[in-house]
Symmetry: C2
């Protein structure tokens, strides 16, 4: 599989830490020390998960190396849906005006990017598709409680889209060498540590410490596994893009793996936790930085729990 192009969309409103100082009495220093976050984006009242997804796809189409009508699969992902019936994948199908192709939206929370790409891999293996759009979008501020002093300041909004083909399309395609996903609902406080019950209250994280510990365990482990599966070691890794949940988790992960901070790609400092969109946005933001032959691992961990890793070679 090959990533032909990747794009992202960020809402324009920037919310600095002073916002949470004002409403929750949390200082900038306190937030930065615990999370690494200085600011995050917030969708406008006119925006939602689906409009952000469509904006990301709009940007994707600017660099599509073939006719958009060749797209034969759309997989959407979000845990902060605007509409669970007209899902974000359906909104994108309507936008693209491509009829009669498989279209579905998924959630494995913050791990959804890799589950979505693995589903694409399955359609490619079946011969039921050969060119897919994966679109990840989270509108965390639609479901958060900004007064929640535990997690209100963590969340940001954003979206990203990837165009993925079975066969190589151009010299600049990024090759997906391997991809592993797993549910970990059997671990720790998986089924209560972070939850989003739309009919109850929004996203809450009653056991942040358990999330932290499991994220720090699963992401290094599965990153090693995906490298090993390709006959590589950690020394062959050029960049790591971990799920952007908390900068301290990211630093813990690279410390466990024994890789220098120069190889860590992060956007949590200025975007907060953008959910399942975070790693894809980071890939999109940094695409011009990568050199031919670079090995990049994206590794994710999400509520529920779920985890995964994907090795990309430029």
């Amino acid at each position: 599989m090959y990533i032909n192009t990747v794009s992202h969309y960020l809402p324009s409103e920037v919310i600095g830490n002073e916002y949470f100082t004002n409403i929750n009495n949390l200082s900038h220093e306190w937030i930065v020390e615990r999370t690494g976050i200085s600011e995050r984006r917030k969708a406008s009242p006119e925006e939602n998960t689906s409009t952000m997804a469509m904006k990301a796809v709009e940007a994707l189409l600017e660099n599509i190396p073939y006719s958009k009508n060749e797209i034969d699969l759309i997989i959407g992902a979000t845990y902060t849906p605007y509409d669970t019936i007209v899902t974000l994948a359906h909104a994108v199908q309507h936008q693209l005006q491509i009829p009669d192709i498989p279209v579905v939206s998924i959630s494995s929370a913050c791990s959804s990017l890799l589950n979505a790409i693995e589903i694409v891999e399955g359609y490619f293996a079946l011969g039921k598709a050969s060119k897919a759009v994966v679109v990840v979008s989270d509108h965390n501020t639609a479901y958060y409680n900004e007064m929640d002093t535990v997690s209100g300041h963590l969340w940001g909004d954003g979206a990203s889209a990837l165009l993925i083909s079975k066969e190589r399309q151009t010299d600049s395609d990024m090759e997906i060498k391997n991809l592993i996903t797993g549910g970990a609902a059997t671990s720790g406080k998986a089924i209560e540590a972070v939850v989003l019950r739309p009919n109850d209250r929004g996203v809450i994280m009653p056991y942040g410490r358990d999330v932290f510990q499991n994220a720090c365990q699963y992401m290094p482990k599965v990153s090693q596994q995906v490298l090993q599966a390709c006959g590589l070691t950690i020394d062959d890794l050029d960049y790591l893009i971990p799920h952007q949940a908390n900068h301290r988790i990211s630093l813990n992960v690279i410390n466990t793996l024994g890789i220098p901070v120069e190889k860590l790609i992060s956007n949590i400092q200025y975007l907060g936790n953008t959910g399942c969109a975070g790693c894809a946005i980071a890939l999109s933001e940094n695409k011009d930085k990568f050199k031919k032959g670079d090995n990049i691992v994206i590794t994710v961990f999400g509520g529920g729990y779920s985890y995964g890793a994907m090795l990309i070679t430029i």
Copy 2:
């Protein structure tokens, strides 16, 4: 692919049409004439999408022909989620206590059953799984407005689970011969006809007529396609299980296909529209009725829009 066993769960509370006569002044005769529905089930305050899913899986395990620990994939489906982070698939993984297998939940609204099975098909093709649980559950009454005289009386709650393997496990396995899914967000009023925006109001159906027309068009068409793909004609069909949205739609579909009413399997009369669970519940309810060699088509149509058909041979 083979369905090894199928189960279902229905909440115990029965809501008859007189309930809607009392609150909305809709007569039993009026509801039956327009929808075919006489009663439907309603989950108790302690129940939700995930608990119903787990009850269906509990029933599934009673007839599992191998160790539950051989299950290596869980796909959940719902458009009425209890939790979008700890999804129903994660709740089921926790229930089954099987670590480190792919776990994800999806939505293509009322079409989700077939999208879920197609995703399983992909994992089987990749060799990443060989025995999957698909669990479909909709808790419509958590998101409906019972005072909505347009669609309040349509909805019911329920869940179903299927155990699906790549290779045949027993003589009584049902074989999945072919499966087609498609998004149809380009058709009619797809992106506004039926919506469920958790942060706005619940499920509403402002363009029921458009849903009706598209359902009556897509389900017969894709049913023909799935038969043709297997070298069969409509005369080879023993039973049709259409999405249980409205009995008039089902009658229209069999009329278009030219098949007698004896070949139509329905549960909408006593369950209402149980969303993506409806067809799977019908398969489970009728499994003892099927004879060796019977050809059954399940065909779905859902908001967004999406459609699909699956041919099963007993």
